[in-house]
Symmetry: D2
Subunit: 140 residues, 4 copies
């Protein structure tokens, strides 16, 4: 982990997340990444639910995923999130999706989020949240 600030969540692939290829459908990886992102923010003390209740939304502006191997139904999957970059109105998270059972790398991903106010205009992140996120910016 070499000093990187990151958070992992584990989940089991749900039956409804498989497709007829017998593997987890590719769009669900974005949902899993969000789960790890939410937990990472919670652990840092920037609970997304609180941000939103305070009038700030983080909307996904860009997403990219590179799929390496498939996940199957009932597989245990580990998703790790960390902050790769942060600015006053934008924060970029990176992700690794792995299968702990055989340490296989399933997917890497990145999402950039922009901070929006209640009228959906770009706005500064709250100072406290920004300071925390700046303090843990890392890279793979």
């Amino acid at each position: 982990m070499s000093g990187r600030h990151e958070t992992s969540v584990e989940l089991r692939v749900r039956y409804g997340e498989t497709d007829q290829m017998g593997v987890a459908y590719h769009a669900h990886y974005l949902v899993w990444c969000e789960m790890a992102r939410t937990e990472h923010m919670r652990r840092l003390g920037v609970r997304y639910r609180d941000l939103e209740e305070g009038g700030i939304k983080l909307a996904v502006a860009e997403a990219s995923l590179r799929y390496a191997r498939s996940a199957r139904y009932d597989d245990l999957v580990r998703v790790t999130a960390w902050i790769a970059d942060v600015g006053s109105r934008r924060v970029t998270f990176r992700y690794r999706v792995e299968r702990p059972e055989d340490n296989a790398l399933l997917c890497t991903a990145e999402t950039a989020l922009v901070s929006l106010d209640h009228a959906n205009r770009p706005t500064r992140l709250p100072d406290a949240a920004l300071a925390i996120m700046e303090s843990v910016v890392g890279d793979a």
Copy 2:
């Protein structure tokens, strides 16, 4: 159709809606029923989007589904909705899900919705909406 007021929508089963059994995952039928319900209300002149913008939400209180045959990826599916019962705070829809290609019945379903205000308290449906829905109550 024997005088029944009902509305049908057609959709193709999406790849992401299949599961590894090779058929449409059972939870998606609730989504399809909602599509037909939305269209039925739109056609009756009770646009759900307008209701919600007017402060009224219709929340699903009960749902039941009886699955008869499976739908496969890329199958064309027809979902028909009609109002089976309506009261001042509650409306019950019924549904038939069919495959037009061979006229197979895939599923029948029923959902009861309750009318909620902005604080999520049960509330009367708007008079105009109620009058329209009462005028088309039918049964299978």
Copy 3:
């Protein structure tokens, strides 16, 4: 728990599971029920993944849900599953969905599953699985 054989799983409501009403979308409860059902079977020693690899599928034939209260984003939710009835080709599960934080009951549900062979014909459950499930039939 009064001697009842049941299994609970806990999950957090994902952002992607909310809808614009600000609550968990009703169709996802079927997915959550399946998670508890899968874990219950795993704990009983009837792993669904093994059943399917052995050529037996359990297809949902009927589902019914009664929604009592809403779950919100990031809420912790507990889903408990038990077997209410079992026959040679059919098993019925019941579910309670609760919010541990305030012990609120969110939903009760029931699904009936039928045992299908590789050609999707109804078939007997494997004897071992049947015996296990019969030994734990309980009711709420």
Copy 4:
């Protein structure tokens, strides 16, 4: 359209596709892109269902999305797909997601798919499919 070979599909944003931000959840755009991709292939005469029944799967290897504006519940959305690049084992699609009502661009996306055999090994696309796809490669 300027001679470009492309196919558009239209869909309405489903209630279950919204999230509590009141807009279509970002992961669903991948599902919508797949709908347009499927229709584009069907129109070209390379029906994905037939490919798969012939033992060839197209698995998503990379995806990237750039979100410009949000789609709301009940919005009509148009998704256009075209082939940006094709090789013997890999085909890249690009997408535009637009709202016809005001001609707003909602999202642009790209997915690269690899051709896999029944054992999930990379394999050549069938000659006929490859020839067709090569003949319509275009770019935005």
